[in-house]
């Protein structure tokens, strides 16, 4: 195709049938106005395409960066953690043989990472973490879930306006303040009420941690239930169901994926919570099933010890391994949550 650049009238140069300008069409210079419009529109479209391209790539880069950061953290954690497996025999992460008071060799799970023969059993730390996180999740599921249901289904607009920000404010209290309150006040109340041997124990920590995750669960539950279409409630009333039946048989089951997500998310936070458990759980690495016993969680161990150990030593690497395991647990937890939610969404097509 040949372009007649002199006149810059493409139509006239390229289309034999339209060499003569049609009569009755308005002209601007040597161009038809309609052609000018087409050209300017084309320029607009091109500009938009460039803009869209840039925006798309920027967003892509943002997304990729997030993945990259996670991957780098993962790699660093596991690299440092893996060194521990060379410095310490892997079996020692479960337990070691020690001599008891009667000089018998027994297999014991102990975290005592000091001295010549440090003991690096992760078992008591795992137990500690779950002994705090599970009760905390149970407490906050009951209280936070109940609160979310109340906010979404029962509370009047006025009450909601006051209660919801108040709950979200609870999430904003620094955990060190909650930890302090647990340490000074709550621990005493719990000991007086349950006559426990240990003043600071897993239960005190669990209550403290639940204060942090109640707002998470309440807020997400509230959102999830409010996303349930109003027609379902009305259909339920229209079919003779009472308010309670409607909440329990219709609204909560229909919003269950969001509620489940909030609970698992809350459990992830409970496992990762550090400051409260450092202050409130007593930090004794015991192998126990007793909720009123002192425990030492994984997070508390890392926080308390990492700053004081020589870099590259066995304890340093062991702490990184603990971190890697913690990361892995929360990762799996989130993955499972995602899978559950996806499956429910697919089934209900919400």
């Amino acid at each position: 195709m040949k372009y007649d650049l002199q006149s810059s009238n493409f139509r006239a140069a390229n289309m034999p049938n339209s060499t003569s300008p049609e009569s009755g069409l308005k002209r601007f210079g040597d161009k038809r106005i309609s052609d000018l419009l087409v050209e300017s529109r084309q320029a607009n479209v091109n500009r938009q395409r460039v803009q869209e391209f840039i925006i798309e790539k920027l967003l892509f880069a943002g997304g990729m960066a997030a993945i990259l950061f996670i991957a780098l953290i993962f790699i660093f954690l596991f690299k440092e953690g893996a060194k521990a497996l060379f410095l310490i025999k892997p079996i020692e992460f479960i337990g070691t043989h020690i001599l008891d008071f009667d000089n018998n060799r027994v297999f014991a799970c102990m975290w005592q990472p000091v001295g010549e023969s440090g003991k690096y059993s992760i078992v008591p730390l795992l137990i500690g973490s779950f002994l705090v996180a599970l009760p905390a999740t149970v407490i906050s599921t009951i209280l936070g879930g109940g609160c979310g249901i109340y906010l979404a289904e029962i509370a009047s607009a006025k009450v909601r306006e006051i209660v919801k920000p108040a709950i979200e404010l609870l999430a904003g209290i620094p955990t060190v303040v909650i930890g302090f309150l647990c340490l000074t006040l709550l621990a005493t109340y719990v000991q007086n009420a349950f006559h426990t041997t240990f003043r600071l124990n897993a239960f005190v920590g669990a209550i403290g941690v639940s204060l942090v995750i109640i707002p998470v669960i309440a807020s997400i539950t509230d959102d999830a239930l409010r996303a349930v279409p109003n027609e379902l409630r009305e259909a339920s009333y229209g079919l003779g169901a009472t308010r309670w039946e409607t909440i329990w048989k219709v609204v909560v089951p229909a919003g269950i994926s969001g509620v489940t997500a909030s609970i698992i998310l809350g459990m992830g936070r409970a496992l990762g919570e550090t400051m409260i458990v450092v202050m409130a759980t007593g930090n004794a690495a015991l192998v126990t099933g007793n909720i009123f016993s002192s425990v030492r969680t994984m997070t508390a161990t890392i926080a308390a010890e990492l700053g004081a150990v020589p870099q590259g030593g066995p304890q340093y690497c062991a702490l990184f391994l603990v971190g890697a395991i913690l990361f892995f647990i929360t990762f799996v937890l989130n993955l499972v949550a995602e899978m559950i939610i996806n499956r429910m969404r697919k089934k209900l097509r919400l």
């Binding site: 279409p229 009305e234 259909a235 229209g238 079919l239 169901a241 009472t242 229909a254 209900l348 919400l350």
Partner: protein, 292 residues
């Protein structure tokens, strides 16, 4: 017999109606969108409250502002069918239908109900696995399963495509006749009024403008037409003087010529519902000769 008189004022809209719904019949509440049809339905069901008025079903008073009576929806014997089906997504079809059945012994009727709507074998499906027409059939039978005194249908077919809608009109007619249930049917589709309703109440911006049988209301008593065909306009070909309007009624096309001016006056568009009326004076009859 259901007696209804209602007044309610929103910001810029006032609803003021009084009418009766005959027992065992299908009454259509017809009017353009925004006329207040759905609000009336919601007030009757108890999902919304009127400012003033009275709703009574036989001797049972559902709502009376002077006596301070207002039964909650679950105490009014109603079945409500929504435009968007409102099936419970977490329950199977069977359990959706069973939701309103309070007596355990009646659960064995489920099988009959499912076959009545032609969905036997779909008991364990979830609503997400059904088509729109199937969903609405489930919603209909769910509303009827608790044997309500009053069935309320809020534009039940408007979310469906045209073909499914026609099919469901037949099902609706069959099922409401079988149950002999007093029905209030909200619609803005005149075809549905003709097909389903025994009685029609025409609503315009919150007021009743006409009521009676569909023939009385839409054709007027004075108009002595003998042939009436209700259908949908499928094409309008017009020049400056005359327009050819093609109307689809069931599976048959009817083509009729009218003034182009008339098309403009009626603001007739493709997709409109129309009634073709013909007087008997000029009709020519041909006898079809059979070979035997």
């Amino acid at each position: 017999m259901l007696n209804i008189s209602l007044q309610k004022t929103w910001k810029e809209f006032r609803l003021d109606v009084a009418f009766e719904i005959p027992r065992g019949k299908v009454t259509a509440l017809f009017g353009p969108s925004g006329a207040g049809k759905s609000s009336i339905l919601r007030i009757i069901s108890g999902l919304e409250m009127a400012d003033r008025g009275m709703i009574s079903h036989g001797k049972e008073v559902w709502f009376d502002d002077t006596k301070g009576i207002s039964l909650p929806p679950q105490q009014r014997s109603i079945g409500f069918v929504f435009q968007d089906f409102a099936l419970f997504p977490h329950l199977t079809v069977e359990r959706n239908v069973a939701f309103g059945i309070k007596e355990k012994r009646r659960l064995n009727e489920l099988k009959d109900l499912m076959s009545l709507i032609g969905l036997s074998g779909y008991e364990r499906y979830y609503p997400a696995q059904l088509s729109g027409g199937q969903k609405q059939r489930v919603a209909l039978i769910r509303a009827l399963a608790r044997k309500p005194d009053l069935l309320l249908l809020d534009e039940p077919l408007s979310a469906l495509d045209w073909e499914t809608r026609r099919q469901l009109q037949e099902d609706l007619k069959r099922i409401t006749q079988q149950f002999q249930v007093t029905t209030l049917y909200v619609t803005h589709d005149i075809t549905e009024v003709y097909k389903l309703a025994d009685y029609v109440v025409v609503l315009e911006s919150g007021r009743i403008v006409k009521q009676g049988t569909p023939e009385e209301v839409f054709l007027g008593k004075k108009l002595s037409t003998r042939i009436q065909i209700v259908g949908k306009v499928v094409s309008i070909e017009s020049d400056s003087i005359i327009a050819a309007v093609t109307v689809l009624h069931d599976d048959q096309y009817f083509k009729t010529l009218i003034d182009t001016e008339e098309v403009d006056r009626l603001n007739l568009k493709v997709g409109d519902d129309v009634v073709i009326g013909a007087k008997s004076s000029d009709v020519i009859l041909f006898k079809v000769l059979t070979q035997s």
